[in-house]
């Protein structure tokens, strides 16, 4: 324990913790010592030399680097200190922009504060010192912030922030002497560098060298949760005049602890997009069963007209009454709150009498749910992200985490810095590969074989946890038998990963405890998706890791994907993953909800679309999801939507799916309502209403409850989200977290449905872009500017074989369609593989995916293609 000792600063006696520096003690006791390169979040650099103080013996020291000692007597503003410090500050100012009045940082500037403190005379400086002769151009390439080298004091806070906090290393000192500046690699504009625009440096820059483009100070701040990915970072929305003017990370939030990525910090402007739906809309001629007819225009024949809420709800209620039970399906939204999703599934089940309730989870994460339930591991998703820092080993499978879940990526890098072993399984090179101790790049879709191979090896070397298996696992013998198919020789041939490598990985994983496995859609979006996850769970049971916290971390696609699923937006599960097929459970829900329930599990999203196309489902109630964009093949989805007799579409923006709707209802965004989101570690976090709903938009739960009332259904008279939450608590209470033994699964390897042949010799995989995250990021201009557009990564060898030059336009042709892209020749993809930063809608033009037999998730991750160079066209 650090002892408390007393020191004296100026005339003040202070008791402080041993080990603190003079500067820290002074600042925390409200004694100002001028400083520029010190930042409380970073290790001291001691570079600016401004924080000088005088010791009792007359020595001048930098207070940021000098730890306090018992009985120290320190003077912060002696003539001696001033003799040394004043020239330093004067030199900085001489070398700095003199025009404080027009600086975006004015009033917030560290240098300005020091100037006032030291009563620096600018005129004297101009008369005595020499001023710089050259003015460097601004770097305005990033849409969110400006870099101004002329104002830079080279304190290095941004460099250290990028290295130690953001862990990106996009910037460094470059040059020498007076030509020293902060530069990106090869001194390119920041937008062309590896910078991820997280803005951590911008908030820490003490002067006007890094500033947001239009700084505005908020009048108030509202605490809430980021609506982008499932990490669920805590943040404060800064509000002025009903507008979000800035965003600040919540340092106290246990999830992000002050970190934010570009989406959370700069990507919430979508709330104020002019494209927001503001009034209910109705298609002209809804009274008849005319087929919907795009394009979407306001008014006119076949177009939409604005109507009142009353009118809209009356029409919807009247139309919905026509359809009962299995004729109707509700698609809920993974972007909505838990309360809203609970209401959505209750609406489907109670008001519509249908278990046809699903979300886009079906397209991404459903195999994880299926596998976790199958093996009795569903409770194991209760994680604490922080625990991964304590893991001895992290295995990342099918995920590009620093792009898809950036703050999670930072936590993994942090763990590696602390000594955690990182194993990355990814067909192409991702940012995390550079941090990995072992990196395996199997052919896409062969992860199951690789992981079963690792299991085999672990068993062979007796690295498995026998005691744990005996006590807590089922079906071990059968599993062991199934492993015989996965000899390393075989696995090497299936996956392309060398025996050596698999052996090493098995040893590292097997010998490290506790260990964590993190996965994403790179393993779920396959026709063998559920089996892929089962293999992962096998590995975790085998090594006795599974009952430890954070042993399994599926990264859910969207912010509340896990919440929506937990709330029962699944055709076969009531809230809390309670099976519909279980009659006792059904009875319990009938009692609580006071209504006879449909005993038959409903259809999944993919099945719903098929049933709609066949005419079996006649009405769709779609909340906050773009089916046309997200599902494949696009043609069949459109056919289905055309066939539907009645579609209600409810969202914050119009989209391709809305074109097929009969009634469109405007929903409130996350900033305009209260409720909770459940993040990837299963943490429920509160979101708070920060501004009034835009236009006449309404929170989704309110719309559905109002509708239920009009349908004269009881059980929807909620006055607020808290009331809904208390009902949720009552329906999931008494649910045992872990009921039985963990179950091993015997598995066989099946190749992906999508295979190459002589005509389509390459496999296309999709890549994740940090600037692109579903439909909402599209409404943020800056994110759109920075988005990686249509780049197709091709291995140099393939480029030679297919005669493709770097930077040229290429055509990607599959068995089902074709799209264009721009070739980027890189070794980050192995030969035989092409990778594209892809809009899902583009991929959907190329595929007609097979479904996973269990979860019905479509194989959307890969596609066999050929690539043809488009001659005569080149992009710079």
């Amino acid at each position: 324990m650090m002892e408390k000792i007393s020191i004296r600063i100026d005339d003040q006696d202070i008791v402080a913790k041993e080990g603190s520096t003079i500067l820290e003690v002074a600042l925390s006791n409200k004694i100002f010592i001028p400083h520029l390169c010190y930042h409380p979040d970073l290790k001291t650099a001691g570079a600016c030399r401004v924080c000088l103080v005088e010791m009792e013996n007359g020595q001048i020291v930098t207070s940021c680097r000098t730890p306090i000692k018992k009985g120290m007597v320190i003077k912060t503003k002696s003539p001696e200190v001033d003799r040394v410090r004043r020239p330093l500050i004067e030199m900085i100012i001489a070398n700095h922009h003199m025009d404080c009045r027009n600086c975006l940082k004015k009033g917030q500037c560290g240098l300005q504060k020091i100037m006032a403190y030291m009563k620096i005379d600018k005129k004297r400086i101009q008369e005595t010192l020499r001023l710089p002769k050259v003015e460097l151009p601004l770097d305005e390439s990033n849409p969110f912030f400006i870099r101004d080298h002329n104002k830079c004091i080279l304190c290095g806070i941004c460099v250290r922030t990028c290295q130690k906090i953001a862990r990106i290393n996009a910037i460094e000192f470059s040059g020498r002497g007076n030509n020293t500046k902060i530069a990106t690699f090869a001194d390119k504009p920041i937008a062309d560098s590896i910078c991820v625009s997280c803005g951590e440096c911008v908030i820490r820059c003490p002067v006007g060298a890094l500033v947001v483009k239009k700084p505005q100070r908020p009048a108030q701040e509202v605490k809430t949760i980021c609506p982008y990915c499932s990490v669920g970072c805590g943040l404060f929305l800064g509000i002025r005049d009903g507008t979000i003017v800035n965003v600040r990370a919540d340092n106290e939030n246990p999830v992000n602890k002050g970190h934010l990525c570009v989406r959370g910090r700069y990507g919430l402007g979508f709330v104020h997009s002019t494209d927001r739906l503001k009034e209910p809309l109705m298609r002209q001629g809804t009274g008849t069963d005319n087929p919907p007819c795009p394009p979407l225009v306001k008014g006119g024949e076949g177009g939409f007209v604005e109507i009142s809420w009353d009118e809209a709800l009356t029409v919807v209620a009247k139309k919905l009454k026509k359809y009962k039970g299995e004729e109707i399906a509700v698609i809920a939204s993974t972007r909505c709150t838990n309360e809203e999703n609970y209401i959505a599934q209750k609406f489907a089940r109670v008001a519509m009498g249908s278990n046809n309730i699903d979300t886009s989870v079906r397209l991404y994460d459903a195999p994880s749910i299926a596998a976790l339930i199958e093996t009795n591991s569903i409770g194991m998703m209760t994680n604490q992200i922080d625990n991964i820092e304590k893991a001895a080993c992290i295995l990342v499978v099918g995920a590009n985490i620093t792009r898809s879940h950036p703050v999670m990526g930072i936590k993994i890098k942090k763990a590696v810095e602390k000594g955690t072993n990182l194993i990355v399984i990814s067909p192409k090179e991702t940012d995390l590969c550079r941090y990995a101790h072992l990196r395996m790049n199997p052919y896409p879709g062969t992860d199951l074989a690789l992981i079963m191979g690792m299991c085999n090896m672990i068993l062979e070397e007796e690295l498995h946890d026998n005691l744990f298996i005996e006590k807590h696992a089922d079906n071990f013998e059968a599993f062991k038998e199934s492993l015989e198919d996965f000899s390393l020789g075989r696995v090497e041939r299936i996956t392309g990963v060398s025996k050596d490598m698999i052996e090493k990985a098995a040893r590292v994983y097997g010998e490290s405890k506790p260990s964590t496995i993190i996965w994403d859609s790179g393993v779920t979006q396959f026709s063998q998706g559920t089996n892929n996850i089962l293999s992962i769970i096998n590995l975790s049971i085998l090594t006795g890791n599974i009952d430890r916290p954070s042993s399994l971390i599926p990264l859910w696609g969207q912010n509340n994907a896990l919440g929506a699923s937990t709330m029962g937006c699944l055709p076969d599960f009531y809230p809390g993953f309670q099976p519909v097929a279980d009659t006792e459970i059904a009875k319990k829900f009938e009692n609580i909800w006071g209504q006879t329930l449909n005993p038959k599990p409903g259809l999944t999203l993919t099945e719903i679309l098929n049933a709609t196309r066949k005419g079996n489902i006649k009405a769709l109630y779609i909340v906050g999801v773009d089916l046309v964009k997200n599902m494949a093949p696009t043609k069949k989805v459109k056919e289905a939507l055309k066939k539907a007799k009645f579609i209600v579409f409810q969202d914050i923006f119009l989209n391709e799916t809305a074109k097929f709707a009969h009634v469109i209802l405007p929903a409130a965004s996350f900033a305009e309502k209260d409720g909770t989101f459940t993040n990837t570690e299963r943490r429920n976090q509160i979101i708070n209403r920060a501004i009034d709903p835009v236009g006449s938009s309404q929170p989704d739960w309110k719309i559905l409850c109002e509708l239920a009332k009009r349908l004269k259904i009881d059980g929807f008279a909620f006055n607020g989200h808290e009331e809904i939450m208390s009902e949720i608590s009552s329906v999931v209470s008494g649910m045992p977290l872990q009921r039985k033994k963990f179950r091993f699964t015997s598995l066989q390897y099946k190749p992906p449905a999508e295979v190459t042949d002589i005509d389509y010799p390459l496999i296309l995989i999709t890549d994740t872009d940090i600037y692109s995250c579903g439909s909402i990021s599209k409404k943020v201009e800056g994110l759109e500017i920075l988005r990686t557009k249509d780049l197709v990564s091709i291995n140099p060898k393939d480029a030679t074989d297919f005669e493709i030059e770097d930077g040229t336009t290429v055509k990607i042709i599959s068995r089902h369609g074709n799209i264009k892209g721009i070739a980027k020749i890189t070794r980050s993809v192995p030969s035989g593989l092409v990778s594209m930063y892809l809009e899902q809608e583009k991929m959907n033009q190329l595929i007609d995916p097979a479904l996973d037999p269990v979860a019905k998730t479509p194989e959307m991750k890969i596609c066999a293609v050929k690539i043809i160079a488009q001659k005569g066209y080149r992009l710079d």
């Binding site: 570079a47 030399r49 680097r65 330093l88 030199m91 001489a94 002497g177 007076n178 020293t180």
Partner: protein
């Protein structure tokens, strides 16, 4: 040595090579061969002889006949002189400017006779690319002695007793450094040779590496044995390609002979050396910046307070970092004993000092004198005085970190402490002689220009301070000086010296401070009278006007 009757040593130092000594060497070899005397006469290339101003140099042994400024057209004559009955070629002999007489033998030339060459003893006499020549002069005997007869502690105590101080500039006692590195805990330790010689006008480290690379390597191996290091690096500037290639050859040969690598000289001790080429930043000569540079990081000095590199150096392991000449001294100390070494020099500065003698001096070149020799001895006895009958004005030592001493201090002994007292430093051994035609403000401006370009940019006083001082000096030399400038220079100097992170910044004002201390009137003439007493500055403007 060779059983041939005569040996012709052709200097292959960088200076002589640029004068054409490579062509001289190959042509002479060919001519001797075709004359049929290839059996009797051996032609050998060597490292730097030191008397660079007179290059290309040839020495004919065993007599020690010394030919200067040899060109390819002289070779027929040279060949003739070598043949039986041949006489020394007079026109190639050195002419002593003092007496205007030709001197036949190098031993008799004052430039050599007044020196005491120990580190440089074999530079210029052995082929640096042939390990056998080094072995023939007793090379690696010190290493054998250390490994087979001495304990590591014994080696350290010998070095300590010798009183050797680091020859990189600061003069830290070498033995103490070794001892603290020996005591540092941890299995992995490194030995690093600082060969990032960057002072303008200094080339003594380069000459040692080019002329006798094995002496440096042997010193490093002994050091590694003493502190139990397994791996060594020589951080050498990429601007020294010849030194790099000779070191590489030497390391390769040493490995082949079992002197480097596993089980050195059949002992349990293993050590190997790698060459790391610096990218040209002056600041990388600072120990912590050098270490960061080897680690692959930007070379910026670490901030105090920090652990010593002997405790936490390269990759945070204990690291022994010494200068080229410091290592070159080690085999001599081990072979001859600490007493032999301690006899040379002064009480507090033992051994010899190597200087690159340049500027307005008759004999430019590489010299070695015992510590404590006076500037007069160096400049007049060895250097032959100021040419053209001009008056000596000042002597600059220590490069951009050093200072200018006025002519009246010429009887000052040259050692670590005397120089520091006078406001300059020993530095890495550059010694520039200035005559009456030199403007001291211009000299200060020159060195500040160097410092402001080479500041790493990390700390404000050094980065902006040297820039500010340079701008002011530049203004002064151009006739734009302002009345308060001298006070501003003094104020800035104090702030820079007291607040900079590393030695580069802390010493950067020295050229200004010493010139202000000894030649303030010159500054005043520039500022108040817009006049340069030496007639160097403001010439252009005057012509324009």
């Amino acid at each position: 040595m060779s059983n041939k009757q005569r040996t012709v040593l052709v200097c292959h130092g960088t200076g002589c090579i640029s004068g054409g000594s490579e062509q001289v060497f190959s042509l002479l070899k060919e001519e001797i061969k075709s004359s049929g005397h290839g059996e009797d006469i051996l032609v050998k290339r060597t490292g730097c002889h030191g008397f660079c101003q007179q290059g290309p140099l040839i020495v004919i042994e065993p007599e020690g006949i010394f030919y200067t400024k040899v060109k390819t057209e002289d070779l027929t004559g040279v060949l003739k002189s070598l043949l039986p009955g041949g006489k020394p070629l007079r026109r190639l002999l050195y002419r002593d400017p003092a007496t205007d007489k030709r001197i036949t033998f190098y031993r008799e030339i004052p430039f050599y006779s007044k020196q005491e060459r120990t580190i440089l003893k074999h530079c210029g006499y052995i082929d640096p690319e042939d390990i056998n020549e080094y072995l023939d002069i007793g090379g690696y005997k010190a290493l054998r002695k250390a490994i087979s007869e001495m304990t590591p502690e014994g080696v350290i105590s010998e070095v300590k007793q010798s009183g050797l101080r680091g020859l990189g500039g600061a003069g830290f006692p070498t033995g103490r450094k070794w001892e603290s590195c020996r005591k540092a805990t941890g299995g992995i330790k490194y030995v690093v040779c600082n060969a990032d010689e960057g002072d303008p006008g200094a080339f003594q480290d380069r000459s040692v590496m080019e002329g006798n690379p094995h002496s440096v390597i042997e010193g490093m191996i002994i050091a590694a044995y003493a502190i139990s290091a397994q791996k060594g690096f020589i951080y050498v500037r990429a601007e020294y390609p010849l030194a790099v290639s000779r070191l590489k050859t030497a390391i390769e040969h040493a490995r082949q002979e079992g002197i480097l690598g596993d089980n050195i000289l059949d002992s349990d001790f293993s050590f190997d050396i790698e060459i790391f080429q610096g990218a040209g930043a002056f600041v990388c000569g600072e120990s912590t910046a050098l270490i960061r540079s080897i680690e692959g990081k930007r070379g910026m000095p670490k901030v105090m307070p920090r652990p010593r590199t002997t405790e936490e150096g390269l990759w945070n392991k204990p690291t022994l970092l010494n200068n080229v000449k410091t290592f070159a001294n080690i085999p001599l100390i081990i072979s001859n004993g600490s007493e032999w070494f301690a006899k040379k020099g002064t009480e507090k500065s033992k051994g010899t000092a190597v200087f690159s003698l340049t500027g307005k001096v008759v004999n430019c070149g590489l010299i070695e004198v015992p510590m404590g020799a006076t500037l007069r001895k160096i400049i007049y006895d060895i250097g032959g005085g100021v040419p053209g009958g001009k008056a000596l004005k000042a002597v600059q030592t220590g490069g951009p970190s050093g200072g200018c001493l006025p002519a009246d201090m010429i009887d000052m002994p040259v050692d670590f402490d005397s120089l520091t007292k006078a406001g300059s430093i020993m530095g890495s051994g550059g010694l520039v002689v200035m005559d009456e035609d030199t403007c001291m403000v211009d000299v200060a401006r020159y060195f500040l220009d160097f410092s402001q370009r080479e500041s790493c940019g990390q700390c404000i006083p050094c980065r902006l301070g040297t820039r500010q001082m340079f701008d002011i000096l530049d203004d002064i030399t151009k006739g734009h000086g302002r009345p308060g400038d001298i006070d501003i220079l003094l104020g800035l100097s104090e702030a820079i010296k007291r607040s900079s992170i590393c030695g580069l910044g802390k010493t950067a004002p020295n050229p200004v401070l010493t010139t202000l201390r000894y030649f303030r009137d010159e500054y005043e003439a520039h500022i108040y009278e817009k006049r340069c007493p030496a007639g160097v500055c403001m010439q252009q403007q005057q012509e324009d006007e």
